[in-house]
């Protein structure tokens, strides 16, 4: 049974600087608290920058509006990629790592100075990237900066600074765990959420080392020190950074799903072995998915493409499908144990839909799985990728995963960080109730609009597709759906940023008094520790509804996947 009380009392001494959280009874190290706050603030700042760019870009690709000129479109597209995929995600994850290696382990932050150095480097790198792209015309190279597109040396330097800073922060995560073990702060295994964050940290290490292998030579080439870079080798290393970066997001998101489920519904993991095995499948195989970007590249063999793109027999995908069952199943058992046993889905109907953490969790899981995951595996199929590469179907896929998936989960989680770590009252609570739905709804249209446009041949990263003169009239409709969806999503984004800024900038510092934001005064986190083995195994509490949900998911998956093979079979012969 899970316990809240620390297994070893903290030693009183110069090293310990902490407070007791009145709501969770966890100990919060003050260095960790400040680091979490700093990283979370920078995350929201870069999200805002990226979000402004998003609105302007979307209103340009929506051909009927076509807002920006070509130069500004490509410039803001570059910025959007950097601020969202690199800065927003990684800053938030660093906050998560500082949290997971201290607060959840009953431990102190053992390397705060190093962590601050990492944070400063990330901030300088991130801001420098924005400045360079905004003011240097030659640095309009997209976040991928594919060699031989050459940007200003400071462009590459900003990536390097950011990446090294992030790597330093990741290292402090591991230092904290080692010190926590040595100081007997916790006994036994890492909690599941920390195990998930650790998966993210390990993947992040590979990611950042690959980034160095791609960007450092590119930096030297931009300075004229290296004469020539092979574009194929650059792509191998760049995507060794770029795709695993998304898998870091995936692992962190899943860890946060478990956390949100425990905080809003009071779950216990159904089977620790099952969930941890799923994370381990990520660790071993998920980085291979980098090959998704290279499936129609010259020089690479079928064997390499097939083995890598399948994440080794789709074992990493199996990991995701395991979590996709585990989390709803855990919620179902917890809710059934509370008495909501009517039919297959009574438990789901009676979930706390007004609680932002719960709605964010569910919307994130559904969009990530049903749209992001299904499209991802499908378009990552070697041959099917020929229909997809560099069309708008690609951003359609990854906006469902990174934005509708990870970003919504992170946004939902932020609403708890504010009272529990920032120790400010969450303001604009009514907005918070609606925000996941607004943002999720907007992103749904964005993804669908992009996917349907891409299916019709619309290219990505393209200022004006009408130049091609081939796109059917229906493209105007699908791009409009994308544009309208973007406006709704941006409104959702503005709601989020407003809630965060209003809450942290106004009002007094206030110790949190309640875990749930709107749904009640009970404390699901504490309740989860009273869920007995007997209740978990009770026949009346078994997760039959969740099984139906995942089977339905699989049926949809099969339909989408097989349809794409059928589409492929109708095109020209090629080999």
């Amino acid at each position: 049974m899970a316990t809240l009380a620390p297994t070893t009392p903290w030693a009183k001494g110069a090293k310990d600087d902490y407070r007791d959280c009145p709501v969770t009874t966890l100990k919060v190290d003050m260095h960790a608290e400040r680091l979490i706050i700093a990283n979370a603030v920078m995350a929201v700042v870069t999200l805002t920058l990226g979000g402004i760019a998003a609105l302007l870009i979307a209103l340009t690709r929506w051909q009927a509006v076509h807002l920006l000129d070509a130069t500004w479109f490509y410039r803001l597209l570059t910025l959007h990629g950097i601020d969202m995929l690199v800065a927003w995600m990684v800053f938030f994850e660093m906050a998560g790592l500082h949290f997971g290696s201290t607060v959840l382990l009953n431990a102190r932050h053992a390397a705060p100075k190093l962590a601050w150095l990492g944070f400063i480097m990330m901030t300088v790198g991130g801001l420098m990237a924005n400045v360079v792209v905004l003011f240097d015309p030659s640095s309009n190279v997209m976040f991928t900066a594919y060699v031989p597109l050459k940007a200003h040396p400071l462009f590459y330097l900003s990536y390097i600074l950011f990446a090294v800073g992030a790597l330093i922060a990741v290292i402090t995560f591991f230092i904290n765990i080692v010190v926590a073990k040595r100081e007997d702060r916790f006994g036994g295994s890492l909690p599941l959420v920390v195990f998930g964050l650790m998966t993210a940290a390990i993947l992040a290490t590979y990611t950042l080392l690959e980034g160095a292998a791609a960007i450092v030579p590119a930096f030297l080439w931009s300075l004229g020190i290296l004469p020539n870079l092979d574009p194929g080798i650059y792509r191998n290393f760049f995507w060794g950074f770029g795709h695993p970066a998304q898998q870091v997001n995936l692992a962190a998101m899943v860890a946060i799903w478990y956390a949100l489920a425990q905080m809003t519904v009071g779950i216990r993991p159904v089977n620790e072995k099952f969930s941890r095995l799923a994370f381990i499948l990520y660790l071993f195989f998920i980085n291979l998915g980098s090959a998704h970007h290279l499936l129609v590249d010259p020089g690479l063999s079928f064997g390499w493409k097939a083995v890598n793109t399948s994440y080794a027999m789709y074992l990493a995908v199996l990991g995701s499908m395991m979590h996709a069952f585990s989390i709803p199943a855990a919620m179902e058992i917890a809710l059934r144990a509370k008495g909501y046993r009517k039919g297959l889905f009574g438990w789901l109907r009676n979930g706390p839909w007004k609680e932002p953490g719960f709605s964010a969790l569910v919307i994130s899981m559904v969009m990530f799985g049903w749209i992001g995951g299904v499209t991802g595996v499908t378009i990552g199929t070697e041959q099917i990728n020929m229909l997809v590469h560099n069309t708008l179907r690609l951003p359609g896929h990854f906006h469902a995963t990174v934005v509708a998936g990870t970003t919504i989960a992170f946004m939902g989680f932020t609403y708890y960080v504010i009272p529990l770590i920032f120790r400010k009252e969450l303001k604009l609570k009514k907005w918070a109730v609606w925000q996941p739905y607004v943002f999720g709804g907007g992103m749904l249209l964005v993804s669908l609009g992009m996917i349907t446009s891409g299916l019709q041949g619309v290219a990505r990263r393209n200022w004006d597709i009408s130049f091609a003169g081939v796109v059917p009239g229906t493209v105007d409709l699908t791009l409009a759906i994308f544009g309208i969806g973007a406006i709704i999503a941006v409104i959702g984004g503005i709601m989020y940023v407003s809630i965060v800024l209003t809450s942290i900038l106004t009002g007094p510092r206030l110790e949190a008094s309640n875990l749930l934001l709107v749904a009640g005064t009970n404390n699901p986190l504490l309740e989860s520790t009273t869920l007995t083995d007997h209740q978990m195994e009770d026949k009346q509490n078994q997760p039959k509804g969740s099984l139906v949900l995942v089977i339905a998911f699989l049926v949809w998956f099969a339909v989408y996947y097989l349809t794409n093979w059928w589409l492929l079979g109708r095109t020209w012969f090629i080999r």
Partner: protein
């Protein structure tokens, strides 16, 4: 002895220990990714023959 006390005194499964071994998992993760994705991929690229 209650169920809980029995559980506390049983030795931890060796597989659980493997799952708990951060450094082993770290090493395998980096090794598998680097060999199957980077090394094999770059080997392919370096072996592209010159145009006839």
């Amino acid at each position: 002895m209650s169920d809980k006390e029995k559980q506390e005194s049983e030795p931890v499964s060796k597989w659980q220990k493997v799952f708990d071994n951060i450094w082993l998992l770290f090493l395998l993760s980096l090794l598998i990714s680097t060999v199957i994705y980077n090394v094999w991929g770059i080997y392919n690229l370096l072996n592209v023959p010159p145009a006839p």
